[in-house]
């Protein structure tokens, strides 16, 4: 219960809970269970990545050379910074510091946008070269590596699914931001901020795995 908000007799909570703390702890377990299934949701793509990498190591290496590790590294830095601002936002809510909460949420949203902008440039650059998922792959520079097009199928599937999670996180953050500006969160009640924070750290963590296996490992 160390991180539970201090109990407040005036705080409303749903009728099937004993207290606000009880509600908070239950919500927290709920979001952890959700994140657990998210891990499994991403897992087939990781398995597919390693299966095909094992089958076609040379093709995998050649295809990975086409990704610009500097862009991936930039996005890694952006997301790690956004995790910091998200943590600061949660701290702002926990200490009833509305300004700190709102400013850091906006910063996190801005960094998430920055991530997507970088991703947009990476994607369009690849599209111009004819690097699409396998069925539409027209790039000819990897002719001697026929499995390279599968690499990009998996690249687009993994980063695309991750990108959708970034977008989902931004949508939730906008909703939290709106409520934060109305002053709904304070040391006694900040459940949505905390839960959004946990989700956002998860999204960052997925990228922490995607960056090395896609950009560096080759």
């Amino acid at each position: 219960m160390a991180h539970a908000p201090a109990m407040d007799g005036n705080r409303q909570y749903a009728h099937h809970f004993l207290s606000a703390d009880h509600e908070f702890e239950t919500s927290k377990q709920g979001i952890w269970l959700f994140l657990l299934q998210e891990v499994l949701f991403f897992s087939p793509l990781f398995v597919a990545y390693y299966v095909f990498r094992g089958l076609h190591p040379a093709d995998w290496h050649a295809a990975a050379q086409l990704l610009d590790w500097r862009m991936g590294a930039l996005n890694t830095v952006i997301l790690i910074c956004s995790s910091l601002t998200m943590a600061l936002a949660v701290h702002g809510a926990q200490t009833s510091n509305k300004k700190k909460l709102v400013v850091n949420l906006i910063l996190t949203l801005g960094l998430a946008c920055g991530f997507l902008v970088v991703k947009y440039f990476e994607y369009t650059h690849k599209f111009h070269m004819g690097i699409y998922p396998a069925g539409a792959f027209t790039y000819e520079g990897l002719g001697q590596y026929p499995a390279a097009k599968l690499y990009f199928s998996i690249y687009y599937a993994m980063t695309g699914l991750h990108g959708i999670h970034v977008l989902g996180g931004m949508a939730v953050m906008l909703w939290v931001l709106k409520r934060a500006m109305r002053g709904e969160f304070n040391a006694h009640y900040y459940t949505p901020v905390e839960m959004t924070g946990l989700y956002w750290h998860f999204v960052d963590l997925v990228w922490i795995y995607l960056f090395p296996i896609l950009y560096l490992l080759g």
């Binding site: 377990q29 396998a134 599968l150």
Partner: protein
């Protein structure tokens, strides 16, 4: 109305009108909505089954062309698996009784609970929409590369199953948090009803396995729309990888179907045998034993798919282990019955049917787990008979035990025992008449999924078809006496069976707000001496 503390107020009449149902966040009403919707799909899937058996009444073209037949068994399988057997017990009965068994006012996240229903319903409707677009003919397993190439509307069904999966994931998440956080004071882990243990294990399996299938099906949709190629051999992909992903979910799914049914049997037997359950912890832990093994046996569906011999050997060996915790449960139930004061009411009769049929289903599973006989029996009617003995014999018989056990609690009415016995006899006999001959034709080599067969198999197929129609008559009779009970049945007392779990401590039907006075638990779930 005796025993009513709210002047006849209950969850059914607390609010009136369709909208009060569609917008409810009351777990009891959501449970009833699931039950109603699932039974509608059960009817559709059942009609498809009757038509499949009608086509197989004679060799050659009897009623429908090969193409229509392919679609017919595909819809029978897809509807029965994704829209009936998986959501049936957890979502319908789990929602209705689980919070009450815990002494809770509701599930942990009531709004998410309603959302789960609509997500699942939306998925079911998307899948059903394929019927009017261009029906599906891949079989319920959606094996690639055929599911990529087929011109039938695979994407709709795949997308529908993808969406339905999230309904199940949210329900599971909800149940786990409810069991952890909302138990009444005094309801220690050792006092949890065994149905709660079963629901807990099921929820864990569903939470961890479903997302894998969801993403896999979505990848097949991407194969069809953008040619992503991961499962497409033409683009260098691997169709066997699809089978691995598919069975990584779909084998545990068998336990998503079976474990809650076992939970119901563990409730019904002590209550109607008037005896403390034998081996409480053995049953509870065996539930988790099964859930654990469930995740590492998927390869036994792929013995002839080109797995390595080592993988085949290991999967075969581990599969045999499933028999151990399952056997622990069956023996515990039988030991509970031993020297019990048996009341042969409908729930107990269905529990007997469950044990009889499920044991045959389990034992024939050992034939399929053994590598040598598996090669001979793969894709024959032996497999069809086996999984119907497990799914229908297990889940549906368990569900019927639960339906007859909790019907008085849900509806506040008693049904006619006499007609119920006739219906039980028809369903139980019809089931065995339908599926036992399929073991024989299967072992003689009749392949599954063909609309035609060699004339030698005619007699056994005709017996099987007649059996199917007997089941059909049994279910129609059941619908009639249950509908009659709903409107004309005698009023049910709060605890007609003398059960000791908390859902029976309330009126039948229960009030809108569970438990006026927060319950404090002082005895075990099957402790009939101290509870009365």
């Amino acid at each position: 109305m005796a025993h009513t503390s709210h002047d006849g107020e209950n969850y059914l009449n607390h609010e009136k009108g369709l909208w009060s149902w569609l917008s409810t966040i009351d777990h009891k009403r959501i449970g009833v909505m699931y039950l109603f919707t699932v039974l509608v799909f059960f009817f559709i899937g059942g009609v498809a089954a009757m038509l499949v058996r009608a086509e197989l009444f004679r060799p050659g073209l009897t009623l429908m062309t090969a193409d229509t037949y392919n679609k017919m068994f595909t819809y029978h399988g897809t509807i029965m698996v994704f829209m009936v057997v998986i959501p049936l017990i957890p979502s319908a009965f789990g929602n209705f009784v689980l919070p009450m068994m815990l002494g809770a006012k509701d599930v942990a996240f009531p709004k998410l609970n309603l959302a789960s229903y609509y997500v699942w319903l939306a998925g079911a409707l998307v899948a059903t929409a394929s019927l009017v677009v261009n029906q599906l003919d891949t079989g319920w397993t959606f094996y690639t590369p055929y599911s990529i190439r087929t011109s039938t509307s695979a994407s709709w069904v795949l997308l529908g199953a993808f969406i339905m999966g999230f309904g199940g994931i949210f329900t599971s998440l909800n149940f786990i948090a409810t069991i952890h956080k909302l138990r009444a004071p005094g309801l220690t882990w050792g006092r949890l009803p065994l149905f709660v243990w079963a629901s807990y294990a099921t929820a864990i399996v569903q939470l961890l396995a479903t997302p894998v299938l969801a993403l896999t099906l979505f990848l097949v949709v991407l194969e069809r729309s953008t040619g992503i190629g991961i499962f497409d051999p033409k683009l260098g992909g691997d169709p066997v990888l699809f089978q691995h992903f598919f069975w990584f979910y779909s084998h545990p799914a068998v336990y998503i179907m079976a474990l809650p049914a076992m939970g119901i049997i563990s409730e019904v037997i002590p209550v109607h045998a008037r005896k403390q359950v034998f081996g409480y912890w053995a049953i509870a832990l065996a539930t988790f034993g099964i859930a654990l093994v469930a995740f590492v046996v998927w390869g036994h569906h792929m013995f002839v798919s080109g797995q390595s011999e080592l993988a085949n050997f290991l999967f075969s060996l581990i599969t045999m282990f499933v028999a151990v915790p399952t056997g622990v449960k069956v023996f515990s139930w039988v030991a509970t019955l031993y020297k019990g004061d048996l009341h042969f009411r409908m729930p107990l009769l269905y529990a007997f049917a469950f044990i009889f049929v499920f044991t045959i289903g389990g034992l024939t599973g050992v034939f399929l787990a053994a590598l040598g006989s598996n090669v001979h029996l793969t894709d024959t009617y032996f497999v069809v008979a086996h999984f119907h003995y497990v799914m229908v014999g297990g889940t549906i018989m368990g569900m019927l035990a639960g339906l007859h056990h909790w019907f008085p609690k849900m509806s506040g009415r008693m049904y006619s025992e006499g007609w119920a016995r006739v219906s039980w006899f028809l369903v139980f006999m019809g089931f065995n008449i339908t599926f036992f001959p399929q073991f024989i034709v299967g072992s003689q080599g009749m392949p599954r999924r063909y609309y035609d067969y060699v004339p030698e198999f005619t007699t056994l197929n005709q017996i099987s078809s007649v059996g199917a129609w007997i089941i059909g008559v049994g279910f129609v009779l059941m619908a009639l006496y249950l509908l009659h009970a709903l409107f004309r049945g005698a009023k049910a007392p709060p605890n007609p069976w003398g059960a000791a779990t908390l859902e029976w401590a309330q009126d039948s039907p229960p009030p809108f707000h569970n438990f006026d006075k927060d319950p404090v638990v002082t005895h075990g779930p099957y402790d009939y001496r101290t509870s009365h």
